[in-house]
Amino acid sequence: MKAVLEVHSVTKSFGGLIAVNNFSMEVREREIVGLIGPNGAGKTTLLNLVTGFLKPDKGRIVFMGEEITGLPPHKICIKGVARTFQLIKPFPKLSILDAIAVGALVRVRSKVEAYKRAHEVIEFLGLKNPHRLCESLNVVEEKLVELGRALATNPKLLLIDEIAAGLRPSEVEDIKRVIRVIRDEYNVSIVVVEHVMPLVMGVSDRIVVMSSGSKVTEGKPEEVASNPKVISIYLGERRGRMLGVKS
């Protein structure tokens, strides 16, 4: 399978703190990769490096065979990388429809065409009453709109940053299903950065474990879950819950 995203020995430090240290990974076509690690492991920093919100000190980032290291965020989005934010950044004064149409505008010029695409995404995500303002939505809807905006840009690679944080277990199940359907319907590779284990274990084809800015291990969910190194640095106290998910 062809690699969609290649991260080659990327390093980023803030002052004396090395957030991402000589880190490499790749994401292949139509693959869902889970990126996990304890708080402060550098997961979100890595996402910001890939999407251009931060520039790496060292290393290269290649997307679809083309180097994108250091490009500004909007150009990286135009190339086909979309993301959601860990702390959601909604458009409070826009309607659901407008917010998602903004994403579509990166591919189409006319407003009519953008609204048509936005309607498709809204139907796909099952959002109701798309003329409501984004400031009036509940948590789940806010996250779905955030996801919908990213989807409307018609990405080849979708980076989802902690979408399940603060959701109820039943809602997590819904999101899990949505992520799978997105991969199948939109033919997109997905990176899921997540703390909620049931989601990331259930949805990923492959899992990359990060700690203190470096890669600890990677592999299939069950391999990673039984890796003693992972258990000791990250999952130790939550082992019981992990095993519960696996069965």
Binding site: P73, H74, C77, F85, P90, L94, V102, G103, V106, A152
Partner: protein, 310 residues
């Protein structure tokens, strides 16, 4: 691309335009027509300031300075090149556009309050340069300029020129805000980072809108110079800026009619309070505080909420 239908929704707007069209014919007092013309000038400034502040969330303190740039560029070119004031106004507009490209390009990449601070610095630099360069600008004495329309004593024609510029401003703003580009503007105004993650070059959007608003502001400033026949550093002074901000905020930020209502109302009030001089600013500052504390949507937004309930 867009339909304008005679529905109930835009009936109030058409009534308002009709009202402004017949107002001088009804009032017929030169003094009040003059006051309303100045009011329209402020309405243009408040409307364009509102585009940056109300829709893009970028507060510019160089707004009055751009009016002064237009006024000086027009006055100087009319005096030295011997061209008619109407052409001078276009030169003023061009000068404002060029300046705004430079300032916008340099300062709009800055986040948050730093854009505001750099526009304040620019406005002050401009005011000092104009005051000091006595040979060209006659300093704080002011530069006498020919009137826009010669041989007419009435202010009636000026009123209609100002009204035409205002309506042109509102119409073009409306078209821009309702276009695909307008959607990008609103996205940048709501969350710059999210807009960038969705493929929008936010710096470009902001610079384009800064140029658009500054172009109209300079045109209005040039008109103002040829209306009163004198261009002085006062056109770009801070109290003028404060007045414009008060008008936009009191009228209603983030709406098109709001700043117009605020401007006309405050200009009329300001005439009645003439004897207070510079202390009028204190009263307007109080109005801003009251508006922001109790009626955040301003006069227009509050009225709309009361009448239409939403």
């Amino acid at each position: 691309m867009f339909k304008i239908s005679l529905s109930q929704r835009n009936a109030p707007m058409l009534l308002a335009i009709l009202f402004l069209l017949v107002l001088p014919l009804v009032v017929r007092q030169e003094y009040w027509i003059y006051v309303m013309t100045i009011g329209l000038y402020y309405a243009i400034l408040a409307s364009t300031w509102n585009v940056m502040a109300g829709f893009l969330g970028r507060v510019s303190f160089a707004h009055a300075a751009f009016a002064a740039i237009g006024a000086y560029a027009s006055a100087l070119s009319v005096l030295h090149l011997g061209i008619p004031p109407a052409v001078g106004m276009l030169i003023g507009m061009a000068a404002g556009t060029v300046f705004s490209l430079f300032i916008g390009y340099l300062s709009l990449r800055l986040r948050g309050v730093y854009f505001t601070l750099s526009t304040l610095a620019f406005a002050e630099i401009f005011r000092i340069v104009v005051t000091v360069e006595y040979e060209y600008t006659r300093g704080s004495l002011g530069l006498e300029t020919p009137k826009l329309i010669e041989g007419v004593l009435s202010y009636m024609p000026y009123y209609y020129v100002a009204l035409a510029i205002l309506l042109g401003t509102l119409f073009s703003t409306y078209v821009i805000l309702n276009s695909a580009f307008g959607l990008k503007i609103k996205a940048v105004g709501n969350s710059e980072e999210a807009a960038e993650a969705l493929g929008i070059n936010s710096a470009k959007v902001k610079v384009i809108m800064f140029m658009f608003t500054s172009a109209i502001t300079s045109l209005a400033g040039a008109f103002y110079g040829h209306l009163i026949g004198l261009v002085s550093p006062e056109v770009g002074a801070f109290d003028q800026l404060a007045l414009v901000i008060a008008m936009a905020v009191v009228g209603g930020l983030g709406s098109l009619p709001g700043p117009v209502i605020g401007a006309l109302l405050l200009e009329v009030i300001s005439e009645y309070l003439r004897e207070f001089g510079i202390f009028r600013l204190l009263i307007f500052a109080g109005l801003i505080i009251v508006t922001l504390r109790f009626f955040r949507r301003g006069i227009y937004g509050t009225l709309k909420q009361v009448i239409f309930g939403g």
